[in-house]
Symmetry: C2
Subunit: 654 residues, 2 copies
Amino acid sequence: MEPNTSNMQQQQPSTCLEITMEVHRVVPPPHKSTIQKLKTRLKETFFPDDPLRQFKGQPTRKKWILAAQYIFPILQWGPNYSLKLFKSDIVSGLTIASLAIPQGISYAKLAGLPPIVGLYSSFVPPLVYAVLGSSRDLAVGPVSIASLILGSMLRQEVSPINDPVLFLQLAFTTTFFAGFFQASLGFLRLGFIIDFLSKATLIGFMAGAAIIVSLQQLKSLLGITHFTKQMGLVPVLSSVFHNIKEWSWQTILMGFCFLVFLLMARHVSMRRPKLFWVSAGAPLVSVIISTLLVFAFKAQHHGIGIIGKLQEGLNPPSWNMLQFHGSHLGLSIKTGLVTGIISLTEGIAVGRTFAALKDYKVDGNKEMMAIGLMNMVGSSTSCYVTTGAFSRSAVNHNAGAKTAVSNIVMSITVMVTLLFLMPLFQYTPNVVLGAIIVSAVVGLIDIPAAYQIWKIDKFDFIVTLCAFFGVIFISVQHGLAIAVGISIFKILLQITRPKTVMLGNIPGTDIYRDLHHYKESMKIPGFLILSVEAPINFANSTYLNERMLRWIEEYEAQEDLKKPSSLRFVILEMSAVSAIDTSGIALFNELKRAIEKKGAELVLVNPLGEVMEKLQKSDEAGDFMRPDCLFLTVGEAVTMLSATIKGQSSNHVV
Amino acid sequence: MEPNTSNMQQQQPSTCLEITMEVHRVVPPPHKSTIQKLKTRLKETFFPDDPLRQFKGQPTRKKWILAAQYIFPILQWGPNYSLKLFKSDIVSGLTIASLAIPQGISYAKLAGLPPIVGLYSSFVPPLVYAVLGSSRDLAVGPVSIASLILGSMLRQEVSPINDPVLFLQLAFTTTFFAGFFQASLGFLRLGFIIDFLSKATLIGFMAGAAIIVSLQQLKSLLGITHFTKQMGLVPVLSSVFHNIKEWSWQTILMGFCFLVFLLMARHVSMRRPKLFWVSAGAPLVSVIISTLLVFAFKAQHHGIGIIGKLQEGLNPPSWNMLQFHGSHLGLSIKTGLVTGIISLTEGIAVGRTFAALKDYKVDGNKEMMAIGLMNMVGSSTSCYVTTGAFSRSAVNHNAGAKTAVSNIVMSITVMVTLLFLMPLFQYTPNVVLGAIIVSAVVGLIDIPAAYQIWKIDKFDFIVTLCAFFGVIFISVQHGLAIAVGISIFKILLQITRPKTVMLGNIPGTDIYRDLHHYKESMKIPGFLILSVEAPINFANSTYLNERMLRWIEEYEAQEDLKKPSSLRFVILEMSAVSAIDTSGIALFNELKRAIEKKGAELVLVNPLGEVMEKLQKSDEAGDFMRPDCLFLTVGEAVTMLSATIKGQSSNHVV
C-alpha cells in the first residue's frame, strides 16, 4: 500500500531539506453522529444479513406477501409445487420414515422415555417444520445426542423407572424450554451464540458422546438387567464387568449378528452413495426380522428382552403436563438450555451443509425460530426435543428430496404406524434397538477430521481432546462447558497478548514486512518499525506498553555497540489496529512520553477510521496529528523522515 | 507496502500476457517445531518482560547475588543508602505517619473492625513491604475501598456488633486469602488478570464506592445511633431520614466545621503541590483539636460519640484466629478474592504511576508477590487487608520520599503511638473520623476523567456508568462484576463481528485504502478488494462467510446495471488477520468454492506467518498457494491480474 515513490528514493541522497514529493495525507474519516454510528454498529451486529432488503421499494401489497412468505417459507415454494417434485419427495419421505421409526423408538429409550414418545416426536414436529422451515433437506426428528443429554441430566434428580410420570412431565417441560430458548435466540438475533461451539469442540464432543451412548447400549446388547444409572466410562464398564453373571448369550449372539449387519450396510452406503437405501432400510429390516424371530421362537422366554405392549393412537395432548413451578423447575430450565443449544447447533449445521451443496440459502435466525416453535408445539403434543438429524438428512438428500414435503410424507407414514401398526412392535427385542443406536452413533466419531485439526492447529486439537475426555470421564454437559471455556480463554489470551512484529524493508521496494518472516528484509538505521496486530483495549494496553518498551531497549542494546542512542524514530504501523478504547488512547500518550524521554520520536502510520477519530478527539494539543508524526504508509514515513535527519546533520556540519 | 511499480503501470496498456516485472513472492515463514512455537508462545504469555535476562552470561556468584536482590529489592538499594537519602525519607515518613494514624483508625471503623486494628495494619505490613517491594513511593496501609468491601461482604453473614470475635476471625482469614490470591497471581504470572479492570470500570467503580463510603459516614456525621446495616443508596438515605429525631446538632456542627477545614486543606494542596503538608497534616490536626475540645467540654455527655478506651501495646499474634474450616469458609474465600484483586489493582496502579514519573521500573508480578506476602504476614499479626494507597503515596512522593525507608519511619512512628500514645485517642470523637474519611474519598470521584471517556468512547462511558450505578444501587461487588462483564462482552462482540472493509485505489499511487474513509480512492472494475480486520476463528467464521457473500452480492447488484457478471477477482487483504484456527481455514475453502461458483476467483494478499503456515498445511491441492492467487501487496495483485484479463480478452478477439 505504498505510493509510487521511485522519484523519492532518487531524491534521498540530496541533503536539501525541502522535498517536492507529494505525501498522501492521513485524513480523519467523514463525520458521523453517535446515533448514526450506533445504528451502523447495531445493524452489523444483529442484522448482518440485512433480512429486510428485499422489502425495500416494494408496493404495500407485495410487502404483505413477502412478509407472509418470510414467516411461512411454504408459501414461497408451495405454489410452484409439481407432481414431478412430489415423486421425488415421496420416495425420500418413505425412505426416511423407514429410518425414523426404529430410530425414534431407540432414541426415546436412550432418553429414558417410553418408546412411543419417540414416534410421537417423529409425527408432529416434521409437520410444523415443513410449514416454517427454510431448509429443503432437513429430516426432522429425535436425535441421539439431545436424547442422551436430556436423559442423563434429568436422571440426576428423578428416576424414569421409579417415577415415570414425573420424568415424562419434566421431559416435556424441558422440551418447552429448549424450544423457547431456541426461538428466543432466533428472535433476538443472538444466533451467533451457537458459533461459540467451534468445530474443534463439536468433533471432540460428538466422539465422546458417541462412546457414552454406545456404552449405554451395553445394557441391551449384553442383556444385563442391573445396570448403573451413571453415564461415565468408568462406572459403566465396572457395572458391566461386575454383572458378568447376567450376560445372556442369546442376546449377545443376536445383538452381534444384527450389529454386524447394520455396520456392513452402513459401510456399503458409505462406499457407494447411490446405494443409500441399503443403510437407510437396514434398521427397519433388522426390526422386522428380529421381531419375527422372537415371535417364532418365543425368544422372550429365553432371556431376550422385548419392548412389550405399546399404546395405539396419535399423540395425546400434553400441555397439562408442563410444570412451570415446583422444585424441579431449575433442572428443567438448565436441561432445556443445554439440549436446546446442542440440538440447535446440529440442526443449523445440517441445514447449512446441504444448503451449500445445493446452492440455496438458509437464514440462521429464521431456522432457529422454526426449530424453536417446532419444539414448543411438540412439548404440548407429547413430543420431546427434536431437530434436524445429520444422518437422516443425508439419507433424505441422497434419496432425492426436493422440498419439505418429504417431511410431511414421513410424518404421515409415522401416523399410519401409530394408528395401525403398533401391536407389531410388541415382540421387537431391545437388543436390536441397541444395535441400531450403536450403528447410528458410530458415524459421529470423525477421526479424519480430528487428524486434520491436529495437523493445522495444535491448540484446537487440545480443545477437541478436552471435549472428548471431559464427556467420557466427567459428564456430557461439563465436557462441553470445559471445551467452550478453553476456546474462549484462547481468544481472550490472544487479545491480552497481541503480537507486535518488527518490520524491515524488502530491498529495492517500498514494501515493509516482518523481519523474521521475510529473511531478505532489512532494518533501516535509526528507525524502529513495529506493527501492532490487534485491536488495542484495556485488556492489552499494559502488556503492549511493556512489550514496546522492551523492543526499544533491545534495539538500543544491539545498537549500543556501534554508537550511543542512534534510535531516532519509532514507527508504529497501525493497519491492523481495527479498534481502540480509552485505555488504548492512554497507551499512546504514555508511549509518546517514554519514547521522547529516550530522545526519539513516535510516528504513527495508517491509523484506521475509528482509531484516527478517537486519537483526534483525545489529542487536544494536536501532538499525534502533526503531519511529521502521521503518515499513510511506512514507505512515505521513512523517506520523509530520513530526509529530515540528513537535512539536520548537513545543517549541523554547516 | 506496495512495490515500486511505475514501470508496471506503464506496461498495463500492452496486451502482451507475459510480463517481465518482478513480483515479490509470498513465502511461508521459516520452519519452527511445535515445541519451539509453544515455548515462544508461553514466553510471550507469561514472561513478556523476560525477567531472567539479567542473569544471562553472569558467573554463578553474581547469579546468586542477583537472585537475592531480585527477591529482596532492599539488597539492591540498601548498600548505597546514604544520610542524605535518609533525611528526605524521615521527613516523608513522619508526614505519612501523621496521615496514616487517623486514617488507619477511620478505615478500621469503616470495615467494622476495632479502631486499633487499623493502627496494627499500619505497623507490620509497611515493614514487610520495605524489604520485598520494588516501588520507592508506595505508602502502605489500609485503604478505604478494600475496607468498605471487606466490611460489607462479611456483614452479610456476621454482625460485627453481636459477634465481634467471629467477625475479627473472618477479617483475618479474609486477609490471609487476599494475600494468598495476590501472591499466587504474581507467582503464577497471571498478573494480566487485573488488566481486565479497565480504566473506565475503575473510574465508575471508584466514584460509586466513594459515594457509598460517604453515605456510611452519615451515621457518625449526624450522630445517628440506629443506622441501617445495608450499603445501598436507597436504604441508607431512608434510614437517615427515618431517624431524623436522632440527629444531634452538636455532632453536626462539629462535623461540618472539621469537614470544611479538611476539604479546604485538600483544596490548598491540590492548587499548590508544594503545600502538600497542609492536607497531609490536617487530619492529625483535626484529631488533636477535636479530642482536646471533647476533653475540655466533656462533650461526650452532650451527644457526641467518642472512640472510647483503646488497648495499648504492639500487634498481638493472630495466626490462631485464622479459620480454614467451618460454615463461613466460602465467605472468607470470596471476600478475600474480591478485596485481594481490588486492593492489588490499586497498589499496582499507584506503583506504576509513580515509577513512570520518576522513570524507574516496577515489575508487576514481583509487586503482586510482595503485596501478597505482606498481607499473609499481616493476617497472622492482627492486620487486615492493606495495599499501597493512592492519596498517601502521593503525599509520600510530594514530601520527597526517596526509598522504602519512609515506610519504615512511618512504621516506627505508628509503633511509638501504639506503645505510648493510645490513651490520648480515648476522647477522639467519631464525627471527626467520619469527616476524615469523607475528605479522603472525595478525591476518588474523578469527573474530568469521566468526561474524557465520554468524549473519546461512548461505549466505555456506558461501562463507567454501569459500574457507578451498579455500585450505588445494587452492591459493590455486583457493580464491579457487571462492569467487567460488559467490558469483556464488548471485546467478544468485536471478535464475533469483525469489520470487513472495501478498499479502493488512491489515484496515481499503488496505495489501497478504505473507500468510505478516503473519498478520493476509486474502485477498480472487475475487482472486489476486501480487507478483513481481525483474527479469524470459530466465533466469527460463520459471520465472515455470510458478510463476504453479501459484499459480493451487493457488488454484483450494483454492477448488474452495466453488464452481467463483471466480477472477476475477489481480493482479500489479510495484513490484519493476525491469527486463524481450523474454522477459519474451513472458511477459506468454503469461500473459494462459493466465489468460483459465481465465476470469479479468490485471491489472497499478504497472509501473515501463522496464517500462511496453516493455509499451507490444510491445502493439499495447493489451491491457495498458486502464484496467481497469492500476492504480497494489493497493488501487485491488481497489476498482474489486470494484465491477465487483458491478455485473455485480446486472445479472445484474435
